[in-house]
């Protein structure tokens, strides 16, 4: 026999003499990294990753023959180093994004490209489902987020960034109002209970994802209602309480219990919870207002920003001053100022020590506040608050910006002799927040926050996890939501007794640094759709929501502005998988990389040579199998080009897409229609037989979440076609979900087709055929079957003609 034995790592395997070491390994389920191996092609060795050590010598496994008795090592230190070096070389010339920049910028990693694509397809429920994979509160976040995603949106290079957040809000509201809104599937109960302290975004998020895993979360909340800063820190004109309540309901309905008016240190202790629950999550936020340090008297005339907002949230009666000074430049300061205006303050001044540019508050919020009447007093700092039973004046000093400090912002320095006074009767200080760790001995770190291991989200106490502002310090809500979710993953692993490994905070992604408009797909300029808002006069004296939300038409129009920057193969790319496996850092030196123009004008094939690893598979499959040589390797420029460097359409290219099937990355992909590139969910794969010519190629239908065939693939080596497909087989599938498909029976009445029920149509046909058969005999009826239909259907059809009608008048057009 031609069979031999060899040892790969610790395994002894049998192989065929004609096999290479790589083939023998793969056949036996042994993983050797490789990118250019394709059973349809002769070994090329181009990727250089399948290095193995054979009897002490390092060789490429795809070129080494399997020989009796050899010993192969697949992962020695030297080999790992060389593979890493090779991968780094590849990424040093890979000017591309794996993941869209908007998604990389999101603290929760929510992929806006994915849900915008779903919105564009009108799949609102799917979009909500997708968002909720990383964010259980899209209606809330869609209203209040600071939108780091939009700051990174590439559309900005064409005209303006896509209104990602407005779209998120649109689809969250849409789904919420739907009779068939998305509800996650909850796994069977595990019997494990998790105590969560704090019903803010971190705690709610942790509870949501733990509940989905079948655990029982119980939230302890100090305030009378859940929501944390979302309820007590964000004014209702930005986030109506009803929206918050409804979205919290979508969490509690999964079996999450919330116990309100339960304060840590007063009503229970951490020890109690540790004793009674299988795990504890601390999501207490950073709710303690930092004091200004210039208060002099006992009048209580200076209120902290968050206390002020909380009092409003609690519905307390507020005695608002006539002339209010708000100190600070962040979102809380702006929220406080705008709330003060709504409560009837005649004049509200915001005092900030740096310039407008340095204000951490969201630009649009500052602009809107100014429109509502807020006055900014910039480059000024309060030095003293004067009181006379109550606040009367505030003393300030002018500032000037000096050298940058450790935060990167310029340090403000007082200008001697520039003091000035301001008449006020109320001062609100919103200069920062801190974690109240008074009841949390043992978990606080030196920076006044709860310390956790970022890989496990666990504190120094086993079984006690934390996330959100309590860990990061005061930051945006979406970050707290991300923290809660990551902690939930860790807690789930902990409860299952697994090693806790929640992976890196940011997934691996190559980054396309230095993109300008010339490198982008051609797009006509199209302005961002403005958010409809309440007029200024409608806003005063009320906390009614200012932003009214997109209409469906507006949302669809805005969604179509997305440039779909993320790679459509990001979750199937062998190169990216290896980058993750070998812990490769993305190369950020866009300058030194080669920049290729993306060829996206071919009707079927999209070529992005920035993603090419020069394995040569495309050139070889076009030459060895298709034998048309439409592609070539350009030695001088070390690049894959079309033959003659012309447009692919002018070469001998048959548009079969064999090159696409052989490409290990996304340098060659099908040029799919916009917003049909469903890369983000694993497709349902159904193996079937091609419906075109008589060869009967085996192929895989890739079905998207809407049940549509969105791609056809094949398994290399499989079927009569060995994984090869032609242009029709690979790309001729969009007819399946074409809008012109017949959907109901049609009956012609008065020369025009009218939709009919099956009953009506079948009854009409049966009656007519019966009458004709009675009057003219069975041979007055004929039937044409089809070579497109199945054996079973052709069989039934001829049986129908012969046994039911009684005639042999049956034929089909494709007799050979």
């Amino acid at each position: 026999m031609a069979y031999i034995q060899l040892q790969i790592d610790a395994l002894c395997i049998a192989a065929h003499r004609s096999q290479t070491v790589l083939e023998a390994a793969l056949e036996n389920g042994i993983h050797i990294p490789h990118l250019c191996h394709d059973p349809r092609l002769k070994p090329g060795g181009g990727c250089g990753l399948c290095l193995v050590e054979i009897d002490g010598v390092i060789q490429k496994a795809c070129l080494a023959r399997a020989v009796d008795g050899i010993h192969v090592k697949t992962k020695t230190d030297v080999i790992v180093e060389r593979r890493k070096k090779r991968l780094n070389e590849i990424f040093a010339d890979h000017w591309a994004d794996c993941i869209a920049p908007c998604s990389m910028a999101c603290p929760a990693g929510t992929d806006a490209q994915a849900y915008i694509g779903l919105i564009a397809q009108g799949r609102y429920r799917d979009a909500a489902k997708f968002i909720k994979q990383t964010n259980p509160m899209p209606a809330v976040i869609g209203r209040i987020c600071t939108r780091p995603c939009e700051g990174n949106c590439r559309r900005d290079l064409v005209d303006e960034e896509v209104a990602i957040c407005f779209l998120k809000r649109f689809v969250a509201d849409k789904d919420m109002q739907s009779s068939d809104r998305f509800r996650p599937e909850v796994k069977p109960p595990t019997g494990k209970k998790v105590a969560i302290i704090g019903a803010g975004p971190a705690g709610l998020s942790a509870a949501y994802y733990l509940a989905i895993e079948g655990h029982k979360p119980v939230i302890f909340e100090a305030q009378p209602k859940p929501g944390g800063m979302l309820r007590y820190g964000i004014p209702a004109y930005r986030l109506p309480k009803g929206v918050l309540d409804r979205e919290i309901e979508t969490i509690t309905e999964l079996g999450v219990e919330i116990r309100v008016n339960q304060a840590l240190g007063k009503d229970f202790s951490l020890e109690d919870l540790k004793h009674n629950y299988d795990a504890v999550f601390l999501g207490i936020g950073a709710q303690k207002g930092i004091r200004l340090g210039i208060e002099s008297g006992q009048s209580g005339g200076i209120l902290s920003g968050i206390d002020f907002l909380k009092d409003i949230g609690l519905g307390k009666e507020i005695k608002i001053g006539e002339r209010v000074a708000v100190i600070g430049g962040g979102n809380t300061a702006i929220d406080a100022a705008r709330s003060a205006l709504r409560l009837g303050a005649k004049e509200v001044n915001l005092i900030y020590r740096r310039s407008r540019k340095e204000m951490p508050a969201h630009d649009i919020e500052v602009e809107e506040a100014e429109r509502e009447g807020l006055k900014l007093i910039l480059l000024s700092n309060p030095t003293e608050v004067l009181e006379n039973g109550r606040v009367t004046r505030i003393k300030c000093i002018r500032m000037v910006l000096g050298e940058p400090d450790e935060s990167g912002r310029c340090r403000p320095e007082p200008v001697p002799g520039s003091e000035f006074d301001l008449d006020v009767d109320m001062v609100i200080a919103a200069v920062g927040q801190a974690v109240d760790g008074s009841s949390l001995n043992g978990v606080m770190n030196g920076r006044g926050r709860i310390g956790v291991d970022p890989k496990t989200m666990q504190t120094d106490i086993e079984g006690v996890f934390a996330g959100g502002d309590a860990v990061t310090g005061p930051w945006v809500a979406i970050s707290a939501i991300a923290g809660g979710r990551r902690a939930a993953i860790a807690i789930d692993q902990y409860l299952r007794g697994e090693q806790i490994d929640i992976g890196p905070e940011k997934p691996f992604s190559a980054v396309k640094v230095g993109v300008n408009r010339d490198n982008l797909p051609e797009k006509d300029e199209k302005a961002r759709i403005n958010m409809p808002v309440l007029s200024i006069s409608e806003r005063l004296n009320t906390f009614a929501e200012i932003e009214l939300g997109y209409s469906e038409e507006q949302a669809l129009e805005e969604a179509r502005r997305c440039m779909e920057c993320g790679c459509i193969k990001q979750n199937q790319c062998h190169l990216r998988k290896l980058a993750i496996e070998y812990d490769i850092e993305p190369n950020l030196n866009g300058e030194s990389m080669r920049h290729f123009k993306i060829h996206d004008r071919h009707p079927i094939i999209l070529r992005d040579m920035n993603k090419c690893i020069l394995c040569g598979n495309c050139v070889r499959i076009c030459d060895e199998i298709v034998q048309v040589q439409a592609l070539a390797y350009d030695e001088i420029n070390n690049a894959i080009i079309t033959m003659g460097s012309t447009s692919l359409l002018e070469t001998a290219c048959e548009a079969c897409g064999q090159c696409v099937s052989a490409c290990p990355t996304a340098a060659l992909v099908g040029n799919m229609q916009e917003f049909t590139r469903e890369y983000f969910w694993p497709p349902k794969i159904v193996e079937t037989t091609c419906g075109y010519c008589g060869v009967g190629c085996q192929m895989e239908l890739n079905i998207d979440g809407a049940g549509r065939v969105f791609r056809i693939t094949s398994k290399s080596g499989r079927g009569v076609n060995e994984g090869n497909l032609c242009a029709k087989g690979r790309f001729g599938f969009t007819f399946i979900s074409h809008p012109d498909r017949l959907r109901t029976p049609l009956i012609k009445k008065g020369g025009a087709f009218v939709e009919a029920s099956w009953d009506e149509a079948i009854r009409l046909i049966a009656t007519k055929l019966y009458e004709i058969k009675q009057s003219y005999g069975p041979d007055s009826i004929a039937g044409l079957a089809s070579a497109k239909c199945t054996n079973e259907e052709n069989y039934l059809f001829q049986k129908f003609m012969r046994a039911v009608i009684g005639s042999n008048n049956i034929d089909h057009c494709a007799r050979l």
Binding site: Y692, N724, T734, H738, A785, C813
Partner: protein, 539 residues
């Protein structure tokens, strides 16, 4: 179909696609393989470039395979019998035949031998335009290397001499012993995914499932018993006959499942007349096709992605299709519709799945008896004959005996096409397909990328003819036959021989089948889509 069935006992590809590369010589006749069956084309090209096989291409068009060929014969369309007879003449003259194969495996050779002397290469050169030297070379190459395989497609069958063409191919293969051996065979390539299966299932007017003739009373009795119905012993009408009978008013009702006859059948105007004349027309399809527009009732069917079932490929391999998604709206799988209709006519056709239908097929068609869904899932397909559940399927036919026992030689003489070029219509039009559209564009025309690659019709004209008739490259040109005229774009190319023009038939807007002839082969009843006379007129 009819030709091979007569010669061998069954009309199917005798080898497997996997075996193609075992051939030492490959003869392609009437098949633009790399464009129409690209996967088979890959094997043929690889046989040539990697395995050193020799290649003969017989085609009026310079197809891509001509670039790989040792010999290219470019006969006038419709003269294939003459070409094949000339090759056999040379084989006989030069004693290149396989006498032991002829003696042990075949019958009727003397009849063939009797007619061959008249087909000398010199005489055939005058009929076909192929040089006698090339005919001799092709014959020597085909017969001289051992292990020769022939592949053919619609370029052979869509003629009034279609059956003769196939018989001549069978004669050539048998006289050189090139059937039933490794690397040797006679291989029709099916143009549509389930032509083989539709024929196997008896969707033909003369045979029941499994090719039992309707006149065979024993066969009829078996089916009558199983189906609980009395069956007609009269052979039914073929498509072309149905059309004619409809015009004559004798076909009153027509039920069409998944065919777009208005575009696919010859002489479009003739078909339209028939469809208008019919009292009651039912069309079941996935789109409102050109044909469906004539219907009284249109029923929405399911596409191949929306139902379960099996297709049988060109190498007799039965393979599964699987339901991947729901049909749109209220559309249903064709089998469900047929069952409902039968039930409405009080016939108990109660199947709940295609697998149940296959169980019935297995009872009635012996070659399918061993084919079950679980086995198909396990093996990825089974080639018939597969008579029992432990049978592995049949990779190659006729290895020891022909299906009919001995292979039968049937002498065939060249007959001119029904319509030849003349002074009024001086050019021969031959039709075919392009690689990006399929049949009548029902599917590919609705698949964006493909349709963009080949959105419009065109006509290929040799530069000599272009000059002669004053045709400008890429210009609009009117093409007229005795049946109609259409306007299309001229492509001037030496891919086509002088005196012949080529058009794909896919496009309803300027349908080539407005021009084609309904003349049919007397036995197979296939229309002569590959030859008709046309003239070019300036627009």
């Amino acid at each position: 179909m009819a030709g091979l069935a007569k010669a061998f006992g069954t009309g199917a590809m005798t080898i497997s696609i996997d075996d193609i590369e075992d051939a030492k010589v490959i003869l392609i006749i009437g098949s633009n393989t790399t464009e129409m069956h690209p996967i088979v084309g890959y094997h043929i090209m690889r046989a040539v470039t990697e395995r050193g096989a020799r290649l003969i291409v017989i085609d009026p068009r310079r197809t891509k395979l001509v670039d790989f060929a040792d010999i290219w014969l470019s006969p006038k369309p419709g003269t294939d019998v003459a070409v094949l007879n000339a090759m056999m003449n040379v084989i006989l003259e030069e004693d290149l035949l396989d006498e032991s194969f002829i003696g042990q495996r075949t019958e009727g050779f003397e009849d063939l031998k009797a007619i061959l002397p008249e087909s000398t290469p010199e005489k055939v050169e005058r009929i076909t335009g192929v040089p006698a030297y090339d005919l001799r070379a092709a014959a020597r190459l085909y017969a001289g290397e051992g292990r020769a395989s022939i592949f053919y497609a619609m370029g052979i069958t869509q003629h009034t001499s279609g059956t003769d063409n196939v018989l001549a191919i069978a004669n050539l293969a048998m006289m050189t012993g090139n059937v039933g051996r490794r690397g040797a065979g006679v291989n029709p390539l099916r143009g549509q995914n389930n032509v083989q299966g539709a024929c196997d299932m008896g969707a033909l007017p003369d045979v029941l499932p499994g090719y039992r003739r309707v006149s065979d009373s024993e066969a009829r009795a078996k089916f009558e018993k199983y189906w609980g119905a009395v069956l007609s012993l009269e052979q039914g009408l073929t498509i072309t006959e149905i059309t004619n009978e409809a015009i004559a008013g004798r076909i009153k009702a027509l039920y069409i499942m998944g065919e777009n006859s208005v575009v696919s059948d010859p002489d479009t105007n003739h078909i339209k007349e028939a469809l208008e004349k019919i009292d009651f027309l039912v069309v079941q399809d996935i789109f409102l096709t050109e044909t469906a527009k004539y219907a009284d009732v249109v029923l929405p069917g399911a596409s191949f992605a929306e139902k379960d079932g099996t297709f049988t490929n060109t190498e007799r391999r039965v393979q599964r299709i699987r339901k991947a998604t729901e049909p749109p709206g209220e559309a249903k799988a064709d089998w469900e519709i047929i069952c409902e209709l039968a039930l409405a006519l009080r016939y108990p056709m109660k199947f709940t799945s295609p697998e149940e239908i296959m169980s019935e097929i297995r009872q009635l068609v012996p070659t399918y008896a061993g084919i079950t869904y679980p086995r198909l899932d396990l093996h990825g397909g089974l080639q018939w004959p597969c008579p029992t559940e432990d049978h592995p399927g049949t990779r190659m036919l006729h290895t020891e005996n022909f299906f009919r026992g001995r292979g039968l030689f049937t002498p065939t003489r060249y007959r001119p096409s029904a319509e030849e070029a003349d002074l009024d219509y001086p050019l021969i039009l031959t039709t075919g397909r392009n690689p990006w559209q399929y049949h009548t564009c029902t599917m590919t025309g609705k698949s964006e990328g493909l349709n963009e690659l080949a959105p419009n019709n065109f006509i290929e004209i040799n530069p000599v003819d272009a000059k002669k008739y004053g045709v400008a490259a890429d210009g609009e040109i009117r093409v007229a036959s005795r049946r109609g005229r259409i306007t299309t774009k001229a492509v001037v190319t030496d891919r086509i021989r002088p005196g012949v023009v080529f058009m794909p038939f896919h496009y309803a807007e300027s349908a080539a089948n407005v021009l084609t002839n309904t003349a049919i082969d007397p036995i197979a009843k296939i229309p002569e889509l590959k030859v008709c006379a046309v003239r070019l007129e300036n627009v």
